[in-house]
């Protein structure tokens, strides 16, 4: 079972990101589950969402406490208490940031990568919503699912020009990171 925790701020499409990832997995014939850390937060507040992906039906419904990967949609969250809590040793952290990973000051026991996801989204979609770019990069890094699965999931939400822009964004974001760099971890965990 692959467990992912997505951190962001209210309004950044955090739940949508989790739903997209699980939808992509289900489209690939995998079992998946996505849900938010249900809160009453308003825009701007730190929020989290959870994704589980597995080859078998998923029964548990508790929050993801020891994720394999973190996706952080806002770099100002990386030092918020609890954000990296429970991440498995050697686990990957993908952060939306313009800065190099080393500058973020995260625990060197984790593998941190950054992606200028807001800039990419602004460029391709005209909106500063980092979630799609981060998911594309995440899938490229881990090889957990083909990028096409993400595009199929996006096609359930968007049509026409907006979908086309998202497709280009997915391709561009995927090229920003070393494809397959986190693949071994993913393989080991989903075995």
């Amino acid at each position: 079972m692959l467990e992912i925790r997505i951190h962001g701020r209210g309004g950044q499409g955090n739940v949508v990101a989790a739903y997209l990832l699980a939808t992509a997995a289900i489209g690939e014939g995998r079992h998946a589950q996505a849900f938010p850390a249900f809160g009453a937060e308003r825009r701007g507040a730190p929020v989290a969402a959870f994704v589980r992906i597995a080859a078998h039906p998923i029964h548990r419904r508790d929050q993801v406490r020891s994720p394999d990967f973190l996706i952080i949609q806002d770099q100002t969250l990386v030092h918020v208490p609890g954000v990296t809590t429970g991440l498995k040793p050697g686990g990957g952290i993908l952060v939306n940031s313009e800065r190099p990973a080393a500058e973020l000051g995260l625990d060197p026991g984790f593998v941190t990568l950054t992606l200028p996801a807001t800039r990419l989204a602004q460029e391709y979609l005209g909106r500063p919503v980092p979630n799609t770019a981060l998911l594309a990069a995440f899938l490229s890094l881990t090889g957990a699912l083909p990028l096409e699965a993400l595009i199929e999931a996006l096609a359930q939400r968007f049509k026409g020009d907006i979908l086309e822009r998202n497709r280009k964004l997915v391709e561009a974001a995927a090229h920003e990171v070393p494809a397959g760099a986190w693949k071994e971890d993913e393989d080991a965990r989903s075995a």
């Binding site: 739903y19 009453a40 029964h59 419904r61 508790d62 359930q156």
Partner: protein, 390 residues
């Protein structure tokens, strides 16, 4: 290929497949997504119904009461404070034997204000005379919704389909939506014999004096007990039609040598299953899930508990001054049974507190002491209490 659907979206689609003619609801967290999805289906022309966006839950229940009395298949959904606000109408609907379906997105009850999942709301209306079914997952919520209409219309009793708020309503997972053909085959058009009709005028909801009241109550009580057969038949026929098992009254599974049972309702069952699978060194445990809470299926519960020395009841609610609702009911039922298991009761996951895998082990460890009258909050963190209360 199953669809990737959020629980609320799947429930809304299932409702539409059942073709209710009148839907009335008032939004309340965490039921909102169900109402919003139904509204969108109606707006998109994919669901033809009279959607009545009422000014309160009290009216939501009253509108569906009136609609069903006039012969329409009717549906509503609510949660928590909304269920409590409509409580008076809930009693009225069942007392008048009006068939309709309500989805309860289970949530804690104020005060203190808490929008998260437990099952206090459903427990608060346990004597309202409704059939109450608790779903383990969203697939079952979909299948139960379809079954609920048939059960309601055959028994002339209302059915409350309970789904854990957020934990199910806001979780996206793979769902097999039934086909319209299957739902139509399972659920014939609603023909309400007692409908309000000028060609055959009847009076409904009359004043009933002491001369008749006990007989009316007795008849309703018997009807609710007899509904067990329709609940089982609906599950069986649905499985035969779509090839998918839902629970019926009670589900139990575990190794034959298990002498300990853990009983729950709703979605924590899945977490307990995962916990058992993840901890092979735990003692053998039989997991028992009550899908049907009203009528309380005593014979099925007894069968599910056969051979157990110890029964641990995990509840998502608390009965102040008493302990647990289900715990108390089961203790009462088993009181005169010679081979009764010792019954331990715990509240767990109140107000949306996460129920992790460790819950199972903690429940087993906490009920080792020979003190079966005990009821406690299993996941209490005593350090958060004022010193004198620890």
């Amino acid at each position: 290929m199953p669809a990737a659907l959020e629980g609320s979206q799947a429930i809304a689609r299932a409702v539409a497949l059942c073709r209710p003619q009148v839907v009335a609801a008032y939004p309340i967290t965490p039921q909102t997504h169900i109402v919003e999805n139904i509204s969108k289906l109606v707006a998109d022309g994919r669901f033809d119904c009279e959607l009545v966006s009422v000014e309160s839950e009290f009216s939501a229940a009253s509108v569906v009461l009136g609609a069903a009395a006039a012969g329409a298949r009717a549906y509503t959904a609510s949660s928590s404070q909304g269920i409590l606000l409509m409580t008076e109408v809930l009693y009225d609907i069942s007392g008048m034997r009006i068939p309709l379906v309500l989805t309860c997105a289970n949530r804690a009850v104020s005060a203190p204000l808490n929008i998260w999942n437990d099952q206090q709301d459903a427990m608060a209306v346990r004597d309202s005379g409704w059939i109450m079914l608790f779903c383990a997952d969203n697939q079952e919520a979909v299948d139960t919704t379809v079954q609920a209409f048939r059960i309601a219309e055959r028994t002339e009793l209302p059915v409350m389909v309970c789904v854990d708020g957020f934990t199910l309503t806001h979780t996206l997972e793979p769902i097999d939506l039934p086909s319209q053909e299957d739902v139509d085959a399972f659920l014939p058009p609603f023909e309400f014999e007692r409908r309000l009709d000028p060609a055959r005028p009847i009076s409904q909801g009359t004043l009933v004096s002491p001369e008749w009241f006990p007989e009316v109550r007795h008849a309703n009580y018997q009807a609710l007990l007899a509904a067990e057969a329709e609940i089982e038949a609906a599950a069986r026929d649905w499985a035969g039609l779509v090839g998918r098992e839902t629970g019926a009254l009670v589900e139990a599974d575990g190794p034959g040598e298990a002498r300990t049972g853990v009983l729950c309702m709703g979605s924590i069952h899945g977490t307990l299953e995962a916990a058992r699978a993840a901890a092979p060194d735990l003692e053998p445990v039989r997991l028992i899930r009550l899908r049907c809470f009203r009528p309380l299926p005593l014979a099925a519960i007894e069968a599910a508990c056969a051979g157990l020395d110890r029964l641990i009841v995990l509840e998502r609610a608390i009965a102040p001054g008493l302990g647990g609702v289900l715990t108390t009911e089961l203790r009462a039922f088993f009181a005169d049974r010679a081979d009764a298991p010792r019954i331990y009761g715990f509240a767990v996951g109140l107000g949306g507190r996460d129920v992790p895998l460790e819950t199972l082990g903690r429940a087993l460890a906490s009920s080792a002491a020979d003190n079966p009258r005990h009821f406690a909050v299993l996941d209490l963190e005593p350090e958060k209490l004022p010193e004198e209360d620890r």
